[in-house]
Structure formats: C-alpha cells, structure tokens
Amino acid sequence: MLCDQCRERDAVVHLTQIVGQSVAQVHLCERCAAERGIETTVAEPKHPLGDFLQAVQHQASQLPGDLPRCAYCGTSLQEFRASGRLGCAHCYAAFDQSLRELLRRVHGATRHAGWRPTAAAAVPAGDPSTVDRASRIEVLREELARAVAAEAFESAAALRDQIRALE
C-alpha cells in the first residue's frame, strides 16, 4: 500500500482518525508520518554519541549553577551535548574529563597512536596564544551582551576585563 501523502513510499503507519462522527483511515510512510509529528515504532538509527550525551545531560542536570564553558570559543558543555560538535581545539581542554570518558566509550582508547603532526603544527592544549585573537574578542563581546541582557553583572564585569586584556 502506498503512502496517502507522498504516493511514493510504502505506507507503514496506519492511522485511524475520528473527527466528530466520521472515522477516516490514513496510511502514511515513515517519513511523511514523521513530518506530521507522528511517532513510529520503527527505530531511528542510533546516534553513536546518544548514550554518552544522555549520560552527560543526566550528570549536568545534577550540577548546581553554571555548566562548564570553553573560554575560547564560548561553547558550553550543554551545547556540545545538544549538537555533538565541539567548538574549537580548546574545547578539548575545557571539557577534558567528559571527553576522555566519551573518547574511551567511542574508540576504546584515549591515546593517539598514529601520525604525528609536524612539530611546528602541534598546538599545546589550552594555550590561548594560538587562538585567533580577533575571533576570541568577537565571541567574548557576544557573551558580554548576553550577560548584560540577563543582568548578570558579575560575569559581565569579568568578560569586560577579559576583552580589555586581549585588546
């Protein structure tokens, strides 16, 4: 049976809708069903980070106050949790503990055993001098605007000092 909506794929979701007195049958494929917000029991491919991210979320929800945030690009652990993407090389230092756990789960190891970058290229972890100054200031300015808007004046002051130091 073809999907009522796209008429292309096989219908796998069979929906009985009761509107007033009338009963209507709707047959949808998985994709069209998802578009209409109907959850299907067909399993989504599992995100390799899913478990870990859930664990982080759980852990995070127990933490009081602010979540760790990368001082260089402004990515928070929460954002990383949501997207699965780190913001910059320095996030690896900022989220070191969580990342080690993640790397161990995903790869079964944390120590790189392959090619070494050419000596000049290696970036010592957490060395701010290697981060593009202009873009750090840009990020901090945005943070500052957010802090001011949220009336978080203490962190705004700290951010202002950081910007001054960089300038």
Binding site: R85, A89, Y92, A113
Partner: protein, 367 residues
C-alpha cells in the same frame, strides 16, 4: 558562479575507470582525513570572517604543494543548488557542505555554508569548511586502500607543514566531532554485494562488521540508504590505533567479504542458474528499452546488470560503462546535461533516454 565541469580534471571521477584490484566487486576505495587549522574555531562554530580566512590560508598554501597545485577550486557556496547536488553525486562534496538536507535525488536545499569549497585534482578532493576545516579525500579505483593511504599521507604532510593543524599531545588531531578525533581517518570501500543480498547472508555479514569495529552505510555515506546493493564499509573508530593498522584491519575484513560474495555468486549460479539468468537479462532488457526510470529503479537494475556482467552471463558490457551509468544517471547530472531543472517525471524520462543511449553505443551484447 557557473560550474564549468570541463575544468575539473577527469570531472573528479578518475576512479570510474576500473583499473584496480577486484574492480568487478569493489567499485572504489577511499581515504578521508579530517583536519582543522590551529587558531580558528571549528567551522560549525566559526564566524563568517574566520571561515573566509581559513579558505584564504588554504588558497595561499595550495600553489606550493606537490599533488595539489594543479587542483581546481570550486566555491561551493557560490554554486547553484543543482550544481551543488552534482558535486555531491560525484562524491566530491558531502551533503553537509553542499547544504543538502534531504536524500540525494531531491535537489531541495538549504544554503551552503559560507566559504565552503572543494579543491579537485585527479583522484583527490579537498573539502574546505565542512564539519572540519579540511576533509582530504583520496579515491582509488577498485580495492586499493593501501595505495590511497600512501597518497593521502604524502598530501597530508605537505598540507600540515603549510597550514599548521590543531592537535593535542595525547588525543592527536582534533576534530569537530569526537568520533573522528585522533587519526581523523575514515577508510572505506564502495562494494557491490548482490550475491550476499540474494542469498540473504548479508545480515550476518553486516553484523560481523560491527563486531570488528567497522560500519556500513549506503552509497552516499552517513544516513544514506543502501541502493542497488552498494555498500560503503568503513572503520568506525579513529583513535588508539595507527592509520596503517586501521586500514589493514579494514582491508582484511573486506577481503573476507569479497570471498563470501564470490562464494554466494557461485551458489546462486549452481542452485538457481536459470532463475538468476532470467532475472538479470530482464534487468538488462528494462534498462535497454524503458521509457521512464526512477533513480531507485535504475540503481536496482544496474545492480542486476553489473552482476550479470561479472558472472559473464552478459558479455560486452564494461565495468567502466556501468560505473559511468551509476553516476551520470543521477538527477543533477541529467539536469546538467539538459541545461535546465527537471521535474521528477521529466528526470525519469531523461534518465531512461540517457541509459538507452549509453547502452546502445557502448554495450556489445551478444545473446
């Protein structure tokens, strides 16, 4: 910007010529290295200015680099949606860099990320500002992971000396997604497994891959469907083992998969000779005469004909012709040939016409 395909050496499709080992089963081998430049936020987080500076740094470095200096750089973000889809159909540009959210074949698209680009030369493609600043890809015809790795290593050394990479003393090369951290290596083969699918052995084989730390995907990588019995098999982990070890392990497993596929084909011929022969000739007949073919149907039928050719049931059809049909019968390629956008039904008609014309010209089939 109009994409002038004649500028691309071999159209970035050198691997279509079936020169490599086991070319009848393994269409191509690919090595991908994910790298980021030190000093810039990763592309998903980077500001437009940063992304432009990354592209600028690559542009300045490339003319001095052996193996890359003759490359043609295409600004993907300045291409039209169908041009971006075309690059994607050629495996030169990922869905993400092409700004395509949907499955290949449907050219509805989002905007491509700013300063996204691809440098193409011979069997090499270098994506810029994808999920990582650099995604270096080396393609090889047939089963040649080692050859592709050697080439990738040479290019990577040159590039890394010119544009310093973000790296960590313990974690190795740093990537936007921690699933690529360490070597940043994804080695994969594009392999045709109709025998294992028809004998229903494929489930066991794919399960076995997982136990070996390998993974499989469809023709167009992550999230794409398996069509036409074409699977991409690749390593899943990137950290803790060297590039050579990761490639060796994949190559060992792929060799076993090839053996099992060959065995399955022998079983099929022995147990169901005339049924298979009939099925495959019907696939050829449909491709040769149909007046409308959907992309999916074409893929399925091409798989049948590819199998028929490798079993020498149908002779006079080269693997090169089959490889060409696989790529050039896709929607954006048909649109490019037609010089305009096509509706789905127009594309189906154009596809059938294209397949017929190629088979008429290149297939020397004797009954």
């Amino acid at each position: 910007m109009t994409l002038d395909l004649s500028l691309l050496p071999d159209g970035g499709l050198q691997w279509l010529a079936p020169t490599g080992e086991h070319a009848a089963i393994v269409l191509s081998s690919r090595i991908r290295l994910a790298r980021n430049l030190a000093g810039f936020a990763f592309p998903p987080r980077a500001r437009e200015g940063e992304r432009l500076r990354v592209l600028q740094a690559v542009r300045q470095a490339v003319p001095h680099l052996e193996g890359l200096r003759d490359g043609v750089l295409v600004r993907v973000d300045e291409c039209t949606a169908s041009e971006r889809l075309l690059l994607h159909e050629r495996h030169l540009v990922s869905r993400e860099l092409a700004g395509l959210e949907v499955a290949p074949g449907a050219p509805t698209s989002l905007t491509a990320p700013t300063a996204g680009a691809v440098l193409v030369t011979g069997d090499v493609g270098l994506m810029v500002n994808e999920e990582d600043h650099l995604r270096l890809q080396v393609f090889r015809s047939g089963f040649d992971l080692e050859g592709a790795l050697r080439h990738a290593e040479a290019l990577d050394r040159g590039l890394g000396a010119a544009v310093p990479y973000a790296a960590h003393p313990e974690f190795g090369f740093l990537t936007s997604c921690p699933t690529n951290t360490g070597t940043g290596l994804r080695a994969s083969v594009l392999i045709h497994l109709p025998g294992l699918v028809m004998t229903q052995e494929i489930g066991k084989v794919l399960q076995g891959l997982q136990h070996m730390g390998l993974t499989h995907r469809g023709l167009y990588g992550e999230g794409s469907e398996v069509l036409g019995n074409l699977f991409q098999i690749s390593n899943q982990t990137t950290l803790g083992r060297s590039e050579g070890e990761l490639v060796d392990q994949l190559a060992r497993v792929v060799r076993r998969v090839i053996e099992r596929e060959e065995e399955a084909r022998r079983v099929l011929r022995r147990e169901a000779g005339y049924i298979i022969e009939d099925k495959l000739w019907r696939a050829y007949g449909t491709l040769r005469h149909a007046r409308s073919l959907s992309g999916e149907e074409a893929m399925q039928l091409l798989s049948g004909v590819r199998l028929a050719a490798s079993l020498q049931l149908v002779t006079g059809l080269s693997v090169y012709t089959l490889n060409k049909l696989l790529i050039f019968s896709q929607t954006a390629h048909l649109m490019h040939a037609a010089g305009r956008a096509l509706t789905e039904s127009e594309a189906s008609v154009a596809r059938a016409r294209y397949v017929r014309s190629v088979l008429a010209a290149e297939a020397k089939i004797t009954d």
